[in-house]
């Protein structure tokens, strides 16, 4: 576990994202989202990361932000739902062993089964916090390690097994602070 953590710890997430028109979206991905959103407005983004190119669609359903990821040819990747309430103790076990101190900045629930995600989204999903397992937690957090505070992204299964951990590269904020 420790060896895996050290290996994963060295990865850095660098991502480029820009908004695209719906005309540039593969039909299979567009149709999937339309079956949920009908004619309501959604925003499409193209993302280029160290792990490849993806398409992402973002929208608000109920009072929760949702994003659906597809690969570059429109094959379903996952659905992420941004949680408003989460119990930090439910994921504290792996984080306590990795960091001296940590604090969650954003917690998303990730569903990777296309059909199940479609059923849940079409049923309105009024309370994403009560979705039954299996799902993953995608967590953005502030972590302190070796006297250095950085932002990390961690993916955990619902049984708290770590799928990956990587540092998120931060931009300088000097132009906003001075």
């Amino acid at each position: 576990m420790l060896i895996t953590s050290v290996k994963l710890y060295s990865q850095v997430k660098t991502e480029k994202e820009y908004e695209i028109f719906k005309d540039s979206v593969p039909k299979v991905a567009y149709d999937y989202v339309q079956s949920i959103r009908k004619k309501k407005k959604v925003k499409w983004y193209h993302e280029e990361g160290s792990d490849g190119t993806r398409l992402e669609c973002k929208f608000k359903l109920g009072s929760f932000w949702h994003s659906i990821e597809f690969d570059s040819i429109g094959q379903f990747g996952d659905v992420e739902i941004q949680l408003k309430k989460y119990n930090e103790t439910t994921i504290s076990h792996p984080l306590d062993s990795l960091f001296e101190k940590w604090r969650i900045l954003k917690c998303q629930l990730q569903l990777t089964n296309s059909q199940r995600a479609l059923e849940l989204l079409n049923n309105g999903m009024k309370n994403p916090e009560s979705i039954a397992e299996p799902f993953n937690y995608e967590v953005e957090l502030l972590g302190k390690k070796d006297n250095s505070i950085k932002v990390y992204e961690i993916l955990l299964t619902s049984s708290r097994d770590m799928l990956f951990l990587r540092e998120i590269q931060q931009n300088s904020n000097a132009n906003l602070e001075f």
């Binding site: 480029k16 994202e17 590269q169």
Partner: protein
């Protein structure tokens, strides 16, 4: 677009009420970097040059500010900064001590930073004490995250209270900038920096500056 419209509306209404207007350019260079772990530094050099004053076009080099600030970032992401600024205005020198607290955070589509700053200026005239509160917002023109070689909008609003001797004044600042992120460590920003003061004595004065800045990070 809504932000720009709102900014122009507020800006116009205040400028029209000003008794006196000065304008010019404010070029600046801002250098920042990490010293160790959560300790960082920032150096800013800015010059002020008048192009219009006393209702006439008139070039006049006014002053140069050289500021140095050391910052420590706490666990809760609040940054405490202490610094010193030297103001060179002709043969006169002014010395300013600076203390500030900042916190920057991201929402789903933009970045926000608030700042609370106090400063004390000592020079040839009476000492000046100021307390100022500022909020700044940054939004990329495309998408939610700012990429390299991309433009963004930056809006800033600041309120200042200053005391010089027994005279108290209020200063309001509104800034609208377009920025361009050249790479991970360099940015260019250009825009309008508007400052309104002498509110208290009802002699409203407006200063409108065309500003261009270069930010470089040497982490």
């Amino acid at each position: 677009m809504r932000y720009i419209f709102f900014f122009i509306l507020v800006f116009n209404s205040i400028v029209c009420n000003a008794q006196e207007t000065q304008s010019g350019i404010l070029p600046f260079i801002n250098l920042s970097g990490q010293i160790q772990n959560e300790l960082s530094f920032n150096v800013k050099i800015e010059s002020r040059q008048f192009l219009y004053q006393d209702k006439a076009l008139d070039y006049d080099y006014n002053l140069t500010d050289i500021g140095n600030v050391i910052s420590y970032k706490f666990w809760n992401a609040i940054k405490l900064s202490m610094g010193y600024m030297l103001r060179i205005e002709g043969d006169n020198f002014e010395h300013r001590s600076i203390q500030q607290l900042t916190k920057t955070f991201s929402t789903n589509s933009f970045k926000v930073s608030w700042r609370l700053r106090t400063d004390q200026t000592f020079g040839a005239s009476k000492p000046e004490y100021r307390i100022r509160a500022r909020i700044a917002l940054q939004k990329p023109f495309n998408g939610n995250e700012l990429n390299n070689k991309e433009y963004y909008l930056k809006l800033t609003h600041e309120m200042l209270n200053d005391w010089k001797g027994r005279v108290h004044d209020l200063d309001l600042r509104l800034l609208g900038f377009v920025g361009y992120k050249l790479d991970d460590n360099q940015r260019l920003e250009f825009g309008v920096d508007t400052r309104f003061d002498k509110f208290i004595n009802n002699e409203l004065r407006s200063n409108i500056w065309g500003s261009i800045g270069y930010y470089v990070n040497i982490d």
